[in-house]
Symmetry: C4
Subunit: 380 residues, 4 copies
Amino acid sequence: MEVPELKKLRRAYGFDEVAIVPGSVTVNPDQTNVSLQIDEFEFPIPFMASSLDAVVSPEFAISLGRMGGLAVLNLEGIYTRHEDAESIIKEVTEASQEEATPLLQRIYSAPIRENLIGDRIESIKNGGVCCAISLTPANTKKLAPIAVEAGADILFIQSTVTTARHISKSEKGLNIADICSNVKIPVVVGNTVTYQATLELMETGVHGVLVGVGPGAICTTREVEGIGVPQVTATLDCAAARQEYYKRTGRYVPIITDGGMRTGGDICKAIASGADGVMLGTTFAQAEEAPGLGYNWGMASFHPALPRGTRIHVGSKGSLKQILFGPTSMTDGTQNLEGALKAAMGMCGAMDIAEMQKTDLVIAPAIKTEGKYFQLAGRW
Amino acid sequence: MEVPELKKLRRAYGFDEVAIVPGSVTVNPDQTNVSLQIDEFEFPIPFMASSLDAVVSPEFAISLGRMGGLAVLNLEGIYTRHEDAESIIKEVTEASQEEATPLLQRIYSAPIRENLIGDRIESIKNGGVCCAISLTPANTKKLAPIAVEAGADILFIQSTVTTARHISKSEKGLNIADICSNVKIPVVVGNTVTYQATLELMETGVHGVLVGVGPGAICTTREVEGIGVPQVTATLDCAAARQEYYKRTGRYVPIITDGGMRTGGDICKAIASGADGVMLGTTFAQAEEAPGLGYNWGMASFHPALPRGTRIHVGSKGSLKQILFGPTSMTDGTQNLEGALKAAMGMCGAMDIAEMQKTDLVIAPAIKTEGKYFQLAGRW
Amino acid sequence: MEVPELKKLRRAYGFDEVAIVPGSVTVNPDQTNVSLQIDEFEFPIPFMASSLDAVVSPEFAISLGRMGGLAVLNLEGIYTRHEDAESIIKEVTEASQEEATPLLQRIYSAPIRENLIGDRIESIKNGGVCCAISLTPANTKKLAPIAVEAGADILFIQSTVTTARHISKSEKGLNIADICSNVKIPVVVGNTVTYQATLELMETGVHGVLVGVGPGAICTTREVEGIGVPQVTATLDCAAARQEYYKRTGRYVPIITDGGMRTGGDICKAIASGADGVMLGTTFAQAEEAPGLGYNWGMASFHPALPRGTRIHVGSKGSLKQILFGPTSMTDGTQNLEGALKAAMGMCGAMDIAEMQKTDLVIAPAIKTEGKYFQLAGRW
Amino acid sequence: MEVPELKKLRRAYGFDEVAIVPGSVTVNPDQTNVSLQIDEFEFPIPFMASSLDAVVSPEFAISLGRMGGLAVLNLEGIYTRHEDAESIIKEVTEASQEEATPLLQRIYSAPIRENLIGDRIESIKNGGVCCAISLTPANTKKLAPIAVEAGADILFIQSTVTTARHISKSEKGLNIADICSNVKIPVVVGNTVTYQATLELMETGVHGVLVGVGPGAICTTREVEGIGVPQVTATLDCAAARQEYYKRTGRYVPIITDGGMRTGGDICKAIASGADGVMLGTTFAQAEEAPGLGYNWGMASFHPALPRGTRIHVGSKGSLKQILFGPTSMTDGTQNLEGALKAAMGMCGAMDIAEMQKTDLVIAPAIKTEGKYFQLAGRW
């Protein structure tokens, strides 16, 4: 007897399961262009720093901005709840593992101070770089005008899963289209992983979409709630939505793959899957300039009822400059990210990100062999 | 030369191999409804406790019932063989690992005392909750009437694999249709994993079907006998049978995924695969209220000729209330199960279980990465 | 550009990758029949012991024969090269790991003594059981008549890969059809793994075919030569050849899955893949009655130019009776193999091996989970 | 809603994921022919040594050449930069792991001395064997004529990814067709992994193509840049290009699978995937005759901005003769490579490499089992 199929289960892929196929044309890496454009802003390198308190301080935002990238400041975290953010972070990093979660809960229960919103934005603007800030949907209507007033250049609206249609009885749901019309700055929203949701978000008028829900293999969102789509498939699907939306409207809305990338190789694969740029957390938390002093924690780590994730020691891997541009002595793909991307684009004959998005991918699981045989890592 | 295909090998999936795709609509978790209905009984939460002696005592059944779930008492175990069940269980938990199996064999060789059946059921009923009890097919004809007489509300008939057509020479096989007609209470049967067997069981008139044979990856039924279907595929197939049966008859028979779930994520995936509810063993064995004092054992652990499984230390993870509703400090998905389910339903825009059953799944194996990189566990 | 496909790569499956689907009918295990027939010989249990010197001595052959199975004596090993085989084997088991290979090389360089062939066969026949012996193709023409003369009942002709068409310049290849006509006893040949080779072997008139080349996951034939087909697919393909040959000729030639099975579950899967019986090495080497005293070694372990495998300590797991029929305290599927097979057949509603061969299989990789969660091993 | 597919993801396979299917005909291994032809040169064994400084010295090239293989000398490494190469290599092997990379950087920053090119080639020619040398595209136009003048027999042009169409602003890209016309010796180029690129390279007139980019599972090119195609699929695709080019032109251009092979089994699989020969690094670095004294390093290990790989201890596994022809006591497939290939060809009924290329492959992942059960490694 034939079993009727209740639903179609599509295979989804993550970074560890694919590899980029080199091209039939190669190009000198020096001639490749890796810039990213969000509305009127152009960034020489397509690397963004996640709006995490251990990653992006105003000082970090200035450093990354001057090197060509974009850091997003969390407007609902330590920097807007505490005057002396540095001491607070030091306290977090010095707490024992057991004390860390309750301490974070205490720290994040302090109220957001509107004057600090202005101060932090001003600091970044004074550094002469583009200022991007992040809000949750629940606080956007109230705090976005204050941030815009203070000079913010790009508004990120972020929650675990964001859709254009949110049903809520207790509060009137955030209307993203209204926000896009009302604020005078570009709006980037996320996160999402599906074709349909991306298409609908683009139709609200946003200027960028963040891709990634539960991306990592050990991500606790997948353990706690079972939700998540691996990043290669998520990026491919959202990029398909971007293409469809562009075809319909002529407006190009970049997508940013957010989370789950650990190496230059993963970043190259995100681009090859259709991303216009990538957003990195741990990678930047490991920079000497990161405020977290070698630690990192997510914004759900201290949720009182359903915490997901905890404070983690990530260590320090080098200066921001080394991480972005090398030179490096690390051979594991965690440094010289721009060099890695340009080298990969060279091997694929891709002159810019748009061409790199068209490169072939194969499914090629990274089987770990136990023997420590020498493997040629390319020549010259 | 083309090789003729002797049989079709279909790919089957387990919890670790799939993930739930968030929706294009999201809903506030507070507005979701997770209730489960079995015949006339409605349970506010769709979580059942397995009929294991280390999990369900009359006291535990009352606690879980008051919190909205349903515990099933094993009528062929310690509680109906021994007056002082508590001391017996204490003895089991204090035995060395070597002594445990012979001790269990001795304990379970005591005769079932019919007066204890009445006593245990009465205790549960006195707690003011629905009383579910479990019997094997071999004992159902004899003991079910006694249980009904004593006030049991729901009868579970369970064996490793139960079908509507059982061939036996030595005894006249149990006719499930007859039982359903004769007992005046709803009947839930299991376990099964296939479309055909589920359809046939529903045709006998049962009010619920338990899904799961050899579900876990390390389940010894798969080692000892090679039998088993991973739970996602098993649930999908049995749910397809439920839909077909409903279409034909207009009677909706819920299916309960039983076994193999370790986290809130697994539970969400079972529902997304089509389950109306789930049955949990270890999860509840880890409650402070569980009679097993941090231990658990299966009902095949002491089979004299072909034992499968043994006494296992599962530890204590918190109160039943914490496990079901939080708040929790555990970030591994083993607590606040209702919260996790409602959060997942929110991200999928599902207002109730029936809508959650329609959500998309992707095949996305949980590849364990060795690096301890920080992974964002969702935001806010 | 579309890439032309040079060859079709078919997916092949091993025991760890499949599971048996329970049926819509169940049957009482006591009513199942697991007998195996080879030509006129009928064996109550379908378990054969491999022709390895550490597994099958004449005494072991008698023991297994009396319990209903069949052991195959290696006619080119220690028993026919050395009068006092017991002392020789003791020496092997007492050698250090470094000494073992040179010692084996020395022991196996002694000449085969024709008088010992007669003696060993006579011993087995005196035990009142069917006597099966094994030869390589190179020695068959010379030694088979001696063995038949001495009273052997079944002749096994075995090499790593055996085909009906062997090309050789130095010697006139063995003509299997001639052998089948000339010897007056049934001939079983192997090993093979393909549809085509099995069909051609059956056309030579053999009475059984052994299935399995490089079956195990860690088998060195796959490491050394890259050759091998996982056993589930190999068995399915060879069973398809058996069906085709039966359809054409009306003669039923049983196939025996040989190697790679570690548990009762694996044996059940071999049968469900189409095997009529199974041949086991390690399982029987672990019997108290096995001559190897807890050790085992393959017949390629001492090949001077290209050794594959070595002497391995397998330990002692219980009496032959326990391994075959229980009762057992082992919960890992290595004991009570008949009980496991009958239980599995019961869950599949299979009255005999022929019906069990028709049961459904699903592809269900055995993912090892790291958490030690309790898993229900079936009930009652 | 159906999701439009942005790009097709093809599944690619590596050595660990396939196995060779034995044939319906078998042949005596002694009768097989494993020779490889490159233009007018014929090599009795199809094994080449990689142009790595720790593998190929002039002395090693002579040894391997006399045994029937071909070693490729790196013309841009230690042997052409330093008179006393032996001392330099000794220094590398004696450095601590921390000192190794800076030391290599220093050693490889010395200029290439044209007189040493002549000396090294002369040494090899004096050994009476075919002399193959390797250059990068950037240095080919300048140094190839010198090498040819000095008597080199075959020119290898190698970079991580080589295509017939390279775009470069700063330098006029190497025109491979011109080189092929101008040098009077056969040209082998690489590396490549795709059908299209191989076809285009063959159209330039080359006499051989090296297949392999980022082949190994732990290859850092995949980590750093995400680039790579597993070797079985890469070889199949490039072999398809060779067949297509042969069909169009009648000229047969051999392809050499380069990298990722650790055992005789892997080598057999490369041939079965369509390779005419294989290029080995680690395997030969482990020979007693290798100049690296038990160490090996890649030519990208000391790249200042984006190093990939490092100095690795590979140990010494035996003489070159043992590795190639045995006899051996190693049972892991790392010795007697010719014996392994001939044995495999025997089991597949392949008389020569061309027939072995046609053998069937199955997809059969090498699942590692944790139990240490004995596995029969073939018989006799």
